[in-house]
Amino acid sequence: MHIPLGLILVPLAAAFILLALGRTKLRKPLVIVATTAFGLGSLHLLFNQLSKDALLVPFDETPFLTGFGWAGLLIGAFLLERCIRFRQPLAALLVLTQTGLAWWAEHLTHLRHNPVGVPLIVDHFSAIMAAIIGIIGGLICVHAVGYMKDWNHHHDKLPDRRNQFFFLLFLFISAMFGLVFANSLPWFVFFWEVTTLCSFLLIGYARDAEAMKSAFLALRLNLIGGIAMTAGWLLILHRGGSLDMLQIVASGDAMYLLPVVLLCIAGLAKSAQFPFSGWLLGAMVAPTPVSAMLHASTMVKAGVYVIIRFAPVLQDTMAGLMISLIGATTFLLTSLAAIGQSNAKRVLAYSTIANLGLIVTCAGTGQYNAIWAAILLVIFHAVAKALLFLAVGTVEHRLGSRDIEDMDGLVMRHPALAVAMLVGIAGMFLAPFGLLISKWAALEALIVVNPILPIFVVFGSSATLFFWAKWMGKMIGAEPGARPVPDDTHSLELIVLAVLTALVIICCAVFPWIAEVLIDPYVLSVYGRTMVIGRETMVIMSIMLLLVALLPLSLLYRGGERFRRVSPYLAGANYEHPYRFTGSAGKEYPMGMKNYYLAEYLPELPIRRWGTIACLVMMAVLMGVAL
């Protein structure tokens, strides 16, 4: 009963304490205590939820709505001040529109005098989301303690504003908890705007020109989403509908279609689908924990969360198909665009947009089995992507580069970090790991609905195969005899990476359990039926996982006593050293190898341009069919 409220309030309190304390030695223990508290709280909620129906938290929401109204005005004023200071007229206009619309909607809601009786609800889906926020988010906060120390060291010209950084991070977590528990639309919209604010401030954290540019881009695009969302809220009021989200989903009333489409447009913006995807790429200038938390595991998931929540309304509608197509197009094109990237964070960013696209594709259909696959994707993607982002961040501080080409032989130089990254990457695209299980479920679900959607998925996932595998190859290709480099990584960072690596594997091992006790009950409660996976499929997945786990045993075989190490084949022109050869004019050359990026064939900007154009057209159709 008190846990949902506690989960919102604990990080909020921690945020303000961390802000007030300024530079302090207490930060590390405080962060650890607070994250442990809400991490355990979210776990408790998850396990408590298993055997029960939705947990309702009824109370009078009226005073809160007034509070949100004023807080919304404050946020609006703050953002407006920023826009004016940085001369961003368009952003200012959007802030004004959004704040004005929200204030008006708030006012109308009061007038209607029809408060939602149960503003907060915890069902299986929100419990899953809360566990992702609590555990993954908590781990990222802990990692940030070590990471930001390094970051400050690398950016020594900037003043130490880490108290603000952690304030925003915890404020964000509080808002995310609020967002997934909200059952009252005004609450949902309010927390949504808080996440936009946090994202804006965290992207602009470094305050240089590039950071501010990216921050304002994110702000503008997300405000467009926010305006769509508020318009949806107003429209429901105008049509005399209910603001109770569960009721909207359950009613099956066609009058909710257009408002829901507007909410889904906000979801598309937040989950960086075309035509909104530009902001997520820009957001990569933020410190890596921010990318891991907001732009991979949690905030962008809020975007798909809203679409999954309202998916039943989209079932068998043209609007739903359009949303699916936008997701599918985004999945295909961003997967192709990722091939051309050698900047590790950009690869991760594109792959994140792609996976969100796949989730949107599933969610837009509104079919029970596709929703099932979508939730599974949300879980596995959150875990694996958080690991990958954090690992890339840590590796970047060690190598001084985030270029994949510089990760040559990482497995020898930084074995622990390399193993974490290899597990993360395997988790993204290889059987029997999580994302592949989800992709399998997605394909099986989509083919029933529409033949065009799986075709996009099939081509897109072939592209993901290419860019992930070549990245793995880069890390494991090492000169023999290379030795580990002394490592001064913060111990907290290493612990978090180890836990997340274990989580990627554990989630795969317990996947049947996750499916049965977490996803099935939610899908059943909404649709009355759920995806059935054959027991045999689960067994074969487990066997494959076991095989992968046993594979390192083959390392015990060391080639026997007779093993003889030889130089690699360099067309017979080896020059004493195994990696030097005699080239033209008899001169000595070092050997070097680079990966394929196919930039000539898959140019990034045209791909994005066409994606944007195609999805803008689809959005126009979407609005057209929903009106």
Binding site: I447, P454, V458, S461, A469, G473, G559, F563, R564, R565
Partner: protein, 288 residues
């Protein structure tokens, strides 16, 4: 269930044998096409036995690690297929096996095997859509992703999936790494990438790669068998014709560039495979 396990284990035991004989036959026919006598049919087996007896040398001590994974998952994929399991899982396990081979080539850290690895990944990317579309097609045609149901379905899928069948035949060349798509490695070590992918594999590692390739060939041919599964004799004939054409093509064409491999296979996939799928979906929708 007993039947499933029998078929699965029969694959594990017999596939390398049949695969080796097929490879021997391939070499014999190839030789005849080139006006040579050719080696004995059992030559591939002699080769592998010889490889196993070779001195263990390598660029890295654990060079066999990934190759071992390659073989294990190739066997797992084939087992799942002949067991009658989910076709998508077969394809995913197959992809995992192929990725292991590529990683083995990367790990050798040698320029020729590196290029081979990159090209093999391109070939995988080229072929993967059609493999997955094939599974989609079988689902629409026979109502299941499970190989056993597809095989037991009374109407042969070939008539419903002609486009997908043609597309699959197209990428079989890529998967078998035969000319014109022997980009990542080939049987002829005198070419520009030497032995590509397998340059740094020797002895045990190379033997394992060969054995895995036998497993791979049988599983891929099994996929073709499925198209005519209700008529076993016709299905075997179909497989023989497909493989015979592969050999003919291998001997009559020169290696293409990877750009052409990518473009042609994705075009084929979308033109033949995807259109077949879409037409079938709406056609099945109208005929209950």
């Amino acid at each position: 269930m007993t039947r499933n396990f029998l078929a699965g284990f029969a694959y594990l035991l017999l596939a390398p044998l049949v695969g080796a004989l097929l490879a021997g036959l391939d070499r014999r026919i190839t030789a005849r096409m080139q006006g040579r006598r050719g080696p004995p049919i059992l030559q591939p087996i002699y080769d592998v036995l010889k490889l196993l007896a070779k001195e263990p040398i390598g660029v890295r001590r654990h060079g066999h690690f990934f190759v071992f994974g390659h073989l294990v998952f190739m066997m797992a994929a084939g087992f799942e297929f002949f067991f009658g399991g989910d076709l998508l899982i077969v394809i995913f396990a197959f992809a995992l096996a192929s990725v292991f081979l590529v990683l083995g080539a990367y790990a050798a850290h040698s320029p020729f095997s590196h290029i081979g690895a990159e090209r093999e990944l391109l070939q995988m990317m080229a072929a993967e859509p059609i493999l997955l579309l094939t599974a989609m097609g079988f689902y629409l045609a026979n109502g299941s992703f499970r190989v056993e149901y597809i095989a037991d379905h009374p109407t042969p899928a070939l008539f419903l999936l002609p486009g997908i069948f043609a597309a699959l035949a197209f990428i079989l060349t890529i998967k078998l790494r035969k000319s014109p798509f022997d980009l990542s490695t080939s049987h002829h070590a005198h070419q520009e990438i030497v032995k590509g992918l397998t340059t740094e594999f020797s002895g045990l590692s190379l033997a394992l790669v060969e054995i895995a390739h036998w497993y791979e060939t049988i599983m891929l041919l099994g996929l073709f068998y499925l198209f005519l599964a209700p008529y076993p004799l016709a299905a075997v004939l179909l497989v023989a014709v497909v493989y015979g054409l592969e050999i003919l093509l291998d001997n009559t064409s020169a290696r293409m560039k990877w750009q052409w491999a990518m473009k042609s296979s994705w075009t084929t996939a979308s033109l033949l495979g995807a259109i077949n799928l879409i037409v079938l979906y709406y056609w099945m929708g109208t005929t209950p």
